[in-house]
Amino acid sequence: MTTREIPKDPLNLVITGVGGQGNVLISLVVGRALVNAGYFVTIGETYGASQRGGPVMSHVRVSRHTQYSPFIPDGCADIILGMEPAETLRMLSRYGNPNVVTIINPRPIYSIDVTGGQASYPELDELMSAIKRLSAKVWVINATEEAQKMGSAMFANSFLIGALVAVRILPLDNESIEPVLKETFPREIDVNILAFRRGMELVRLG
């Protein structure tokens, strides 16, 4: 299968959030679409124990030529997709670089360290300006808020997949993603497709 050129080989995507938000599902949808399109994809995930409220990340590595390891080396991410702002900054600080593009859902989820008073969660605007400072470009997608309007915060995942496709760094489009969304969410497919398209729209509107 011939594959389209990609801006860099390998392309390194970090997906981050809090256990339970749906990290693994996003990486699975994106990964399957890319394998169907003929690319080598490696996904490394922290889950298992981290299902339960801890920080989670998925590393998705895309190549036209070979199977890369499931870990992106420090400082080598091309895109960071953040489902939670403080976790996004945690990942940027380790994997970011002056060229990284960040997509962020700005809805905070407080950890038990914060609610318990052992740690403090920064003001959102401070957090966002740090994220902007460390990124070449930031796309803010109010995915949780938009998803709640559609009935459940869980649709935020499809919103973010839409945004990820629309920033046009990964070799993906509607035609490659929507069939995989259908396989992955057979029961709530209509609303997920809608959320996915709206996510794309939000990026186009800038």
């Binding site: 990964g31 994809v41 080396p73 900054l89 318990g116 740690a119």
Partner: protein
């Protein structure tokens, strides 16, 4: 969803290593698979169980690892190819049988044991290196270096096992087992299987039947001969390979996921023409000719492997005993301190080791960026500790335990083991659990503590186990306690699933791995039959759960059993809506002015409850709250309201 039964040879699928192993087993024509769940191995049997009926195979969750392996051996003895899977700790449980099985040999059909190790103990209590079990017990051992190989090796290993007549071991690690990558599918065989246990014995042969491993020294001798035949096969196996220039400045010798890290590291440093990599896939016995051919390439050799120095030590041993090199190379690795002798590795650690040896500098991003990023992380990124899920019954159970121990006032404490409930070693479970070792260990330890009254020991002991752990490992310890009249309370946290590893069914659930309904082994009936006093509680009824614990702690005369029964929230929420709408009445909550000292957010620590800095009051995060309503019962002001939905 594409499944591992896709009958489309040559097409690519994105599979986790465990699914690739399951697919390899199907391509090898297995008929039987058994396991006890354990991260990172669980998806092998989980995946096979889902497709078992379609594929005409039998798959079970066994009560523990030794039974899983024994059951799989039974199938092999009757001519059915069989696989057993487990995590590293499971091998300890299975080892007694394994050591004997190696001496007896297997049946007509291949038998493969898959063990997934967990470097850095990401979901484990320790990071044992199973490769030494192969060396210790004389078992042929392979380890896949990527996802495709995970499938190919599994298939290949069944043929090898059958040809040699011995169990073979496939070791994997978390970053292969739980990572995803491309796997090109092969053919699924169409076969009919007939199981038959062959009892024919030659009367002229004085040896007992095949499956009785005596005389042991003779069997041991035979096993060494099998290992030598395995070595011959390994020399030409497609899983050992060298990439790099003919005579590199540095030769990396590696295996498993470290093969991918080494490739990444060499590419990142752009050293493809200076550094070679010898990737070993067959690890025990060592493929000596492959080593002989490749070790002579370089004067500097770096071993890159996770956890223990298995290859490093084995290769050094080989080199010392077979002086084929005119001059010894310089060896780098764990012994030299270039690679950690603990924990998992990653590409950066390999980059660092290579850079040290070749005296290079590596800088993936500008230093100013790194220092700014570091300072933002320190100032702007709060800790995020693991916790019980919102709505988890364990949070309520440990709340009841905490209060009961306090009310009892004799310095009582909890012994525990591994499972979701291990989180009670930390703030999530109010720091209640004081010991954590292997499955069931808390009950065994309680047995000893409960017999110390003659030495003035007066503290009550609560031993906690999960429901699946109870069946797996706690029953002999409970029998011991009843027999020896040891004083402790066994608290079974029955959430009706093996939750930590992915909600697998167990003997108490009435459901098999293949989704059929079956007999329920009732834990209360079992404990009563053993002679223990048993009480069943709902942990969400905090008052009665606390009172029951107190009452049981006050009694002498042998073990008592309290079953805290409430379904895992992650299982419940898939079936039905949240029972309550929960909110904080902003009038009633008086925040810091209340004498409770923020009991709900500071102590109870459910992630669904947050502290609103602006109003200085508690609040529910609707996105997170599971609607269990337990927090309504802990608020002294009655400010947390639960309304039935």
């Amino acid at each position: 969803m594409p499944t591992i039964t896709t009958d489309a040879p040559g097409t690519n699928q994105l599979l986790i290593g465990n699914e690739a192993i399951a697919r390899g087993a199907l391509e090898a024509g297995i008929g039987f698979a058994a396991a006890y769940p354990g991260t990172p191995s669980s998806e092998i049997i989980g995946t096979l169980a889902q497709v078992a009926k379609d594929m005409g195979i039998y798959v079970e969750w066994s009560v523990n690892e030794i039974v899983a392996l024994e059951a799989a051996a039974g199938a092999s003895f009757a001519g059915i190819r069989a696989l057993a899977a487990m995590k590293q700790n499971g091998v300890n449980v299975a080892c007694d049988f394994l050591a004997n099985l190696v001496m007896s040999g297997i049946g007509r059909a291949g038998l493969v044991l898959v063990v997934c190790d967990d470097p850095s103990a990401i979901s484990s209590s320790n990071e044992q290196d199973t490769r030494y079990v192969a060396k210790w017990l004389d078992i042929p051992l392979v380890e896949p270096g990527d996802f495709q190989e995970a499938k190919e090796m599994t298939k290949w290993l069944f043929d090898l096992s059958e040809e040699l007549g011995t169990i073979c071991l496939l070791r994997s690690v978390t970053r292969i087992a739980h990572a995803r990558g491309n796997v090109k599918l092969g053919e699924l065989p169409k076969i009919t299987r007939k199981a038959y246990f062959d009892q024919i014995q030659d009367i002229r042969n004085p040896m007992p039947t095949k499956y009785i491993p005596v005389p042991s020294p003779v069997r041991h001798f035979f096993q060494h001969a099998r290992l030598n035949r395995a070595r011959e096969k390994f020399e030409s196996a497609p899983f050992n390979r060298y990439v790099g220039p003919p005579s590199p400045d540095l030769l990396i010798v590696t295996c498993g996921s470290c093969w991918l890290y080494s490739l990444d590291a060499v590419r990142a440093l752009q050293l493809e023409d200076r550094v070679g990599i010898l990737k070993l896939g067959t690890l025990w016995p060592l493929p000596e000719k492959v080593l002989e051919e490749n070790l002579a390439r370089a004067r500097k050799i770096l071993f890159v492997e996770e956890i223990d120095p298995f290859i490093e030590q084995s290769v050094m041993e080989f080199v010392a005993g077979a002086p084929f090199l005119d001059r010894l190379p310089v060896f780098y690795g764990k012994r030299s301190g270039h690679v950690n002798a603990y924990g998992e590795l990653n590409p950066d650690m390999v980059i660092k080791a290579i850079s040290n040896i070749l005296e290079l500098t590596y800088q993936p991003r500008p230093l100013e960026y790194t220092s700014e990023a570091e300072s933002f992380r320190k100032s702007h990124v709060p800790e995020r500790s693991m916790t019980f899920c919102p709505g988890c019954p364990h949070r309520a159970t440990f709340w009841a335990i905490k209060n009961a121990l306090k009310l009892d006032g004799r310095g009582g404490f909890v012994t525990g083991d591994i499972g979701c409930y291990s989180m009670a070693i930390g703030p999530a479970g109010f720091l209640q659990v004081r010991t954590m070792h292997c499955m069931g260990a808390g009950v065994g330890i309680a047995n000893g503590l409960g017999k110390l009254d003659q030495f003035g020991f007066e503290q009550p002991v609560l031993a906690v186990v999960g429901d699946s752990t109870f069946y797996h490992a706690a029953i002999p310890a409970l029998i011991n306690g009843i027999y020896n009249r040891s004083n402790f309370v066994l608290v079974i946290l029955d959430n009706s699933a093996t939750a930590m590893t992915g909600f697998q069914p167990h003997p108490g659930t009435g459901m098999t791995a293949m989704g059929e309904s079956t007999n329920v082994v009732s834990m209360e009936a079992l404990c009563q039959a053993l002679g223990a006093r048993v009480q069943v509680c709902d942990p969400f009824d905090l008052k009665s759960a606390t009172a029951t614990l107190l009452e049981m702690m006050a009694e002498d005369g042998g073990p008592k059993v309290v079953i805290m029964r409430r379904e895992c929230e992650l299982v419940r929420s898939k079936k039905e809506a949240a029972p309550y709408k929960v909110y904080v009445d902003q009038e009633k909550c008086i925040g810091e002015c209340c004498g409770c000292d923020r009991l709900c957010t500071r102590v109870f620590l459910c992630p669904g409850l947050i502290w609103d800095r602006k109003s200085g009051k508690a609040k529910i995060d609707d996105v997170i709250c599971a609607g269990c309503g337990v927090c309504a019962d802990i608020c002294p002001r009655g400010a947390i309201i639960k309304e039935a939905r």
